[in-house]
Amino acid sequence: MRLGKEQSAGYVEDTEVDSIAVDEVKAEITIDSAERAPLTPTAHPSIPVG
């Protein structure tokens, strides 16, 4: 395939893929699931601190 004379060079991110990934992550976070609740601090942490 003949593309003609070279004009420039560089680097570009595939931002369209990134935007899809972000949307999927947001959807995951908004799921109202009881199993995900333990991520919040509890009154009795299993690992002693202090």
Binding site: M1, R2, L3, G4, K5, E6, Q7, S8, A9, G10, Y11, V12, E13, D14, T15, E16, V17
Partner: protein, 228 residues
């Protein structure tokens, strides 16, 4: 490898904020077990099948990253759809699909297109049957690679009796989602050529009937001379 090691000149290190849109030709491919589909290149990339998202590798020298200035490696695409349509007119490219891609990663930009390292196929824009009608399915092209059969577009009339994969079935077996463009610049009639009129199929019979009538008239004339 840093960018500065393979680019030079005033345009070193361009950083556009979005990938380029490009157009190219590729052969449709179906895996030997029929479970997966992909795309095969036409020239340098003809020995490999790629999916919806793919990274370019140099087939000659795996020690450098694609595209390298003094090497022909990397994915190729054209800026203009019309240039890709022109490329599709060549005899050896007639059975290829015309696809739209998002070109990203490292790239070298030329007057008519790009060489680049990362590709994402967005859409199938054209798939013409060898007879000139829009292709609605893909049939065995009679060629392929180890593990992959090349598929060629075929219209609803030419697929009769042949095992085929519809374009939608082909897309469903890819490793990602892409569009099938059926709009004005998508799977349309060949530019400058009209669909045949319904009476066209009858024309050969009409011509044959006229020729037989003429032959009869000449025979009558000859008989009349012999009788006279």
């Amino acid at each position: 490898m840093g960018l500065s090691s393979w680019v030079s000149g005033s345009a070193r290190g361009e950083h556009p904020d979005r990938p380029f849109t490009g157009y190219k030709l590729a052969h449709a491919a179906l895996s030997a077990d029929g479970a997966k589909t992909g795309f095969a290149g036409l020239t340098m990339g003809a020995g490999h099948v790629y999916g919806v998202v793919a990274e370019a590798t140099c087939v000659w020298n795996s020690r450098h990253q694609s595209p390298r200035r003094w090497c022909g490696c990397g994915f190729y695409c054209l800026h203009a759809l019309t240039d890709a349509l022109s490329l599709g007119c060549a005899t050896e490219n007639r059975s290829a699909l015309l696809i739209e891609v998002a070109a990203s990663g490292r790239y070298i930009r030329y007057e008519r297109g790009l060489r680049y390292s990362r590709q994402r196929v967005r859409a199938i824009k054209q798939a013409w049957c060898g007879c000139g009608r829009p292709g609605v399915a893909l049939a065995d092209a009679g060629s392929g690679l180890v593990g992959w059969r090349h598929l060629a577009p075929a219209c609803d009339q030419c697929v009769a009796g042949r095992p085929t994969l519809t374009l939608r079935e082909f897309v469903a077996r890819l490793d990602g989602r892409i569009r099938i463009d059926e709009g004005p610049d998508g799977l349309a009639q060949l530019p400058g050529m009209a669909a045949p009129a319904e009476t066209t199929a009858e024309q050969p019979f009409a011509v044959l009937t006229a020729e037989i009538a003429l032959l009869h008239a000449r025979l009558d004339n000859l008989q009349a001379r012999l009788d006279g």
